[in-house]
């Protein structure tokens, strides 16, 4: 239960970090380390070199504009959770972050690191998907933007290869006349969710449902956004058939069973959480 030996560097600039990632064989980025260190201690990963980016300047800002929220690579979950401006522009950020582990983990773990880690049990990968977000990736060759649907390849696997550092994640603003909600079922609050759901409901000008979308946690190998609009589109918000949307969601997902829950139980939870969160999201639309 101790990490295998590795080499360690803590660069003071982005250029230096990228150079280390390019020149050190088997190098891995260390940010908050709340997922990486358990992997090292359990010997599930043994990178030759850790490039600790905690001392790289300029990566710790939450930038909020009318277009959305840009979260830097060193922003801790706890910081994002308490960012009132970010919550106003994209309320899913606060709602989901409140479900990320426990306070002591949120004080150290980073939102962007959680996304780059690409764990299907992670909250923020699904939030990036549901909001239609993207990440900014720095490589020795330059900077590129990778949309969420080109980022996630499989569990703990992204499309990024070679020397690359995710410097920020961008979460677009919540559209007008829209509401969000997020809920999880976990054996102990703060543990990995058996199943979680994030939803966005959008109304038209006469307060009829125009769109309903959902993304799930611990369901499927990579984050997916499911369009549930067919079950509720055109219905007045007060009378919308959220249960039908939950039923539809159950037919769309393909969960796996494991020691924590069977696939059938996860499918059941998808239906329950979808109905519940859609009603809550719709109720919050001013």
């Amino acid at each position: 239960m101790k990490p295998a030996p590795f080499r360690y560097a803590d660069p003071r600039s982005l250029e230096e970090a990228l150079e280390l990632l390019a020149t050190e064989e088997g190098a891995k980025v260390l940010a908050g380390g709340q997922s990486l260190l358990p992997l090292l201690s359990m010997r599930l990963a043994a990178p030759a070199t850790l490039v600790d980016i905690n001392k790289v300047p300029g990566l710790d800002a939450v930038d909020v504009t009318g277009d959305g929220v840009r979260v830097g690579a060193l922003v801790r979950h706890a910081t994002l959770l308490h960012d009132a401006a970010a919550a106003r522009v994209q309320p899913l950020l606060t709602r989901a972050t409140a479900n990320v582990a426990h306070p002591a983990i949120r004080n150290r773990g980073t939102t962007v690191g959680s996304i780059a880690h690409a764990d299907p049990s992670g909250e923020m990968t699904s939030v990036l998907a549901l909001t239609g977000g993207s990440v900014t990736v720095a490589t020795p060759g330059g900077v590129e933007t990778v949309p969420w649907d080109e980022l996630f390849v499989g569990p703990l696997e992204t499309s990024l290869s070679g020397p690359a550092l995710v410097t920020s994640a961008f979460f677009p603003a919540l559209p007008a006349r829209s509401g969000t909600a997020f809920a999880e079922v976990a054996r102990r609050k703060g543990d990995y969710a058996v199943c979680g759901a994030g939803v966005v409901v959008t109304l038209d000008e006469s307060r009829r449902v125009s769109a309903a979308r959902a993304a799930y946690i611990s369901v499927g190998l990579v984050p997916e956004v499911h369009d549930l609009s067919d079950a509720v589109a055109g219905q007045p918000v007060e009378e919308a058939d959220w249960a039908a949307a939950g039923e539809l969601a159950r037919t769309l997902v393909d969960p796996d069973g494991d020691i924590h829950a069977s696939a059938d139980y996860r499918r059941l939870l998808v239906g329950v959480l979808t109905e519940r969160t859609l009603a809550e999201a719709a109720g919050g639309i001013a």
């Binding site: 101790k2 030996p5 360690y8 560097a9 660069p11 150079e19 306070p103």
Partner: protein
């Protein structure tokens, strides 16, 4: 260019005292506290961030010391359970209100998880508005990340309320 090392000498202020030690870079903070600095009050349970027994304060914020490398706290301030009690004018030890509440409410049995609970609750109570009423949700959030196999949590939650009241009175 930053050096790439397998060993580093770090300086950490632990419970107000600057300490210097040389550690392999793979040393976890929990092990550095216990093995290199001789502070065995920080307990190591699961060693992968689940149990919370090793929780210490890094620059005032509770963190799992098994999920932080010792080299990462170079220059930082760390507070462990050994730093909770203060010395009175006669050289005796005065327990911190959270420790006092744990004793008062019988919030520990075997005591293995207690250091982690004490540090988490201390930070949780200090980082909130003491004049506001403490809700059950807040208490659950405060203790939910720490595992206790003996008490069933009822007395720990009682102790959190007890400590909150004591800290409010002390204001």
């Amino acid at each position: 260019m930053t050096s790439v090392d397998t060993e580093r000498t770090i300086t950490v202020t632990v419970n107000g005292v600057p300490r210097e030690t040389t550690v392999p870079v793979r040393r976890l903070l929990s092990d550095a506290l216990r093995h290199d600095l001789g502070l065995t009050g920080t307990h190591v349970g699961c060693e992968h961030g689940v149990c919370g027994a090793c929780t210490v304060l890094v620059d005032g914020a509770p963190m799992r010391s098994c999920l932080v490398l010792a080299v990462q706290v170079d220059g930082a301030s760390v507070e462990t359970v050994e730093g909770l009690a203060r010395v009175d004018h006669q050289g005796g030890q005065v327990l911190h209100p959270v420790q006092e509440a744990f004793r008062e409410c019988h919030a520990l049995q075997c005591g293995f998880c207690t250091p982690g609970f004490l540090m988490t609750i201390k930070a949780g109570l200090e980082n909130r508005d003491a004049s506001a009423d403490l809700t059950e949700e807040e208490v659950d959030e405060m203790v939910g990340g720490n595992l206790c196999r003996c008490t069933g949590y009822a007395n720990i939650k009682k102790a959190v309320h007890h400590a909150a009241a004591a800290m409010k009175d002390a204001q």
